[in-house]
Symmetry: C2
Subunit: 531 residues, 2 copies
């Protein structure tokens, strides 16, 4: 299927068909100096703003027509652009730039909002989420302290409590219960914040030089974000223990294994510092048993953080609350509302039981930061996160919660879970396939069963690698990703795009079946020739 | 001056005057379940999107009417909001939410876009910058690898080179010259990236346990972001050397002092690792002499990073190029395009001479990250920054460069420099005041001279503290911040809001003069009574 023609973008006034030639972009055609454009003029903003809104709306309405993943080769874009920015804008530079977004950029992106995007985890979009971002960018405040924008700070405090309640988090993690939270970009940052808070709390007791003795724990399924955070925080590279998981235990972190690992480190004179438990791992949405892990960690004074980047959104449904049983004992918790809760990228929420540990690690004080004399006991979010400059993300989250309501978010999550369940059932109904791990949320991990006549388990991974490649090569087909667990190469079908409907899931399965048939047929021929 | 009445926001259809009462917000009035709203419907997006555009345009057109800083006390907002998110959206929830943004949020924020905002450094807004953010949020891709959105990665590579050229950076920092760069949120992140790259390069030579021997350097004027980064990266807290600066040297870092500090550390068995030099310090826009500092750092193999968060934007003008003389020798460089280059918050650009050191520190590899077999030698930006999830900021920067042109950005910077110069001249023309440090860019640091008859230098700081408080308390007046340098409390007038015109600068000065006259008059009375 070809990408939608440029005619469909009614938004771009004066668009002309350039017959497929490389658009004449960014050529400075004016010889004389153009009048300097008005940089923040209300009327100009209105005119161009309506163009942008129509452009995006047109994009949404044609989303299904794009191949999810573009057929481009590295370097395709620079070769079509000049080497340097123009000195002066061309006439109608904005309209011309929008045409280039349509003709050069959109054909070269991976369409994460496509209803056929089943790769990775979703980048959840909504009308209100996108417009919340637009509003934030328009207002453009920098709420690094309370004084720097009081309403922005206070709205953030309100919405992290609202969100925590909606996700059934314990009150001890909320401002309302003596804890508190913040919004930031990604789980990578949240995990690093928690780790640095834990590290500095420990080092304050034992002395800074002991940093080299600290050990951190995770499973071999934990997202690389944690190992990256541990590196950044200066934990010795060989003191990040990745506890092995197994298929029999559905790739969850074993408390028994964790206990043994911690004891071994203590025996070796090292100091257990931090455990990153995951609710909904990236590969298979495995769920680490939080309560039991906390019980293992407690005697060592280990900080427990829960990374629920993806599955945290599912907690909006009471039927999923059990996956965080024992969460009352954790020190910190984070999830990405941009993954599955309609709050466009980026939007991570994190909560701490004792924010004072965080502030002790990340707090700053300097004369040039204005303070309101009447506001001495306020939250200054610069002391809660890695950065001083930050965005007013609370506005977006507030709009999403308010305009969709907690029930609306539940409906949204449940619709994806239902569709994933339908996909799972289709996989199960085809004897050539197997569902590799129990589906918990809206991700199905599956593969072609090892084919005894074609080498069995020995060729299974190659077979499934080919299958994924062929599925993703169908331009009107679904786009999926893979996992490697327990030595198996498996396909991941993550339902979660806001635009995905049942028919897209059914179509996706048909493409998988079709490609599998073709591959198995080819195998038959090869094996019959080889004898 | 009162904030603008709600009547001025024509954007909000059906807005009614609620006579100043607390708006009836977020009350779930529906007893029966409302139909689930369409979450990403093109028509709904169009309808609500146009409302948002008009809302923002109305806000811009009334910006000058708001007091820059709100008169609110901590807790004002939560007291007006429910304790939890609504279960179901109220009818016309979006319109109702926009009314609350107008009536509850806007009166409680600090209006960074006000033409009378002279505090901190600017949060530079433009029509194109804001709409670039809107477009990014609408398209909502996550370009963490090339494959995850090829055009997003390639456009980022293009624009960091475009921007680097526009700022007269040496080719060795650009992709075109074997270096390369990335866009991220803030300078805090850029500095941390550079520090971690430097640290891990060093530790790879000397062994990870030596982390406790590493020492980092800055001046007492360096932004706290650097000390925060050093803490996060696990540098011992007492091994961050803040070299003292002095007024005679305009608060620039002295190469002689740096040399002595490094030698002292080497003599003590420690290892100099990293220097953070600043071009345009936060307090007074001091400029550290990069070339000379690099010469001091080189024999120790110290990584030199230049933080040009604010003044980096000025480099678009050739007349400022000299402030980075010697930059060819640095290892990395960063600036915030959201501060003064019309690319709305957030947008930091960083460049590295040897990106391989960065990738060695921050690179990740995991099976579930999809790769295009045909794209083995591409930039995967997840390996360049702290986080894996990231935003498509390149679109905004590309639009800004293209729609305003390098000449347009120069005009923009120069207009602020001219206005700051005008303010400086007004200060100099009033004998009661003094300009404390040479103005280099668009920040004027000034104070009321010590008044001999009222205690001289002993009372000068108190006098100027009162002056700032009184100036900022004038609701139709300017909003400024302060610095504390060389024992002096000084006022900072940072010209940089996109909407600021000459008249706003003149009016600001009149308010300062007026408040100064009133304070000095009160002092006269007090001193005459006291004899």
């Amino acid at each position: 299927m070809a990408p939608p023609s440029q005619h469909c973008f009614n938004a771009i006034n004066g668009a002309t068909n350039n017959n497929g030639a490389v658009p004449a972009v960014m050529v400075d055609t004016s010889q004389q100096k153009l009048p300097c454009p008005t940089l923040l003029d209300a009327d100009e903003f209105r005119r161009q703003g309506h163009q942008v809104i129509d452009f995006i709306a047109d994009y949404y309405s044609r989303m299904g027509d794009y191949p999810v993943h573009p057929s481009v080769t590295p370097g395709f874009l620079p070769s079509q652009l000049p080497d340097a920015a123009p000195s002066r804008p061309e006439p109608d530079a904005f309209g011309s730039a929008l045409r280039d977004v349509r003709d050069l950029i959109l054909p070269g992106i991976t369409h994460w909002q496509s209803p056929r995007h089943f790769a990775h985890f979703p980048a959840s979009s909504s009308t209100v989420g996108a417009l919340g971002e637009a509003l934030t960018a328009g207002i453009n405040v920098i709420p690094f302290t309370w004084t720097a924008s009081p309403a922005a700070t206070e709205l953030e405090m309100v919405v992290v409590d609202w969100l925590g309640k909606a996700l059934h988090l314990p009150e001890s993690l909320l401002f309302a219960g003596g804890g508190g939270g913040a919004l930031l970009g990604t789980s990578c940052e949240a995990i690093l914040c928690a780790l640095v808070a834990a590290r500095d709390r420990k080092l304050a007791e034992i002395g800074g030089k002991k940093i080299v003795d600290l050990v951190v724990y995770c499973s071999d399924q934990t997202h690389f974000a944690f190992r990256k955070a541990a590196r950044i925080a200066g934990i010795q590279r060989d003191q990040c223990r990745e506890i092995r998981t197994c298929h029999a235990n559905m790739f969850a972190l074993s408390p028994t294994e964790l206990r043994a690992a911690m004891q071994a480190d203590v025996d070796a004179g090292l100091m257990p510092l931090f455990l990153c438990a995951t609710v909904g791992t990236t590969q298979t949405t495995a769920v680490d048993p939080i309560g039991e892990l906390c019980a293992v960690a407690a005697p060592h004074g280990v900080w427990v953080h829960v990374d629920a980047a993806y599955a945290g959104s599912a907690l909006v449904c009471p039927e999923f609350r059990h996956v965080i049983d024992g969460v009352e004992s954790v020190d910190s918790f984070s999830m990405n509302a941009h993954k599955w809760l309609l709050a466009n990228n980026d939007c991570c929420a994190m909560w701490f039981k004792k924010p004072c540990a965080l502030i002790a690690a990340l707090g700053t004080e300097q004369e040039y930061i204005l303070r309101d004399p009447a506001a001495s006991d306020v939250v200054d979010y610069k002391d809660w996160t890695l950065t001083l400059t930050r965005r007013f993300r609370a506005l977006k989250v507030w709009l999403v919660l308010r305009c969709y309501g907690v029930d609306g978010l539940r409906d949204h999550v449940r619709s994806h879970v239902r569709m994933a369940e339908a996909f799972e059932n289709m996989v199960k109904a085809d004897g050539r396939f197997e569902v590799v791990t129990d589906r918990r949320f809206a991700l199905v991990c599956f593969r072609l069963r090892p084919q005894e006549e074609f080498g069995g388990e020995k060729t299974a991974n190659e077979l499934n690698r080919s299958l994924l490649e062929e599925v993703n090569a169908v331009s009107s087909g679904p786009y999926m990703s893979s996992a490697n667990v327990g030595g198996m190469h498996v396909l991941r079908c993550a339902v979660g795009s806001t635009l995905t409907e049942e028919r897209h899931v059914e179509d996706a399965w048909k493409v998988v079946q079709d490609r599998a048939s073709a591959i198995l047929h080819r195998m038959e021929i090869v094996y019959s020739v080889l004898g």
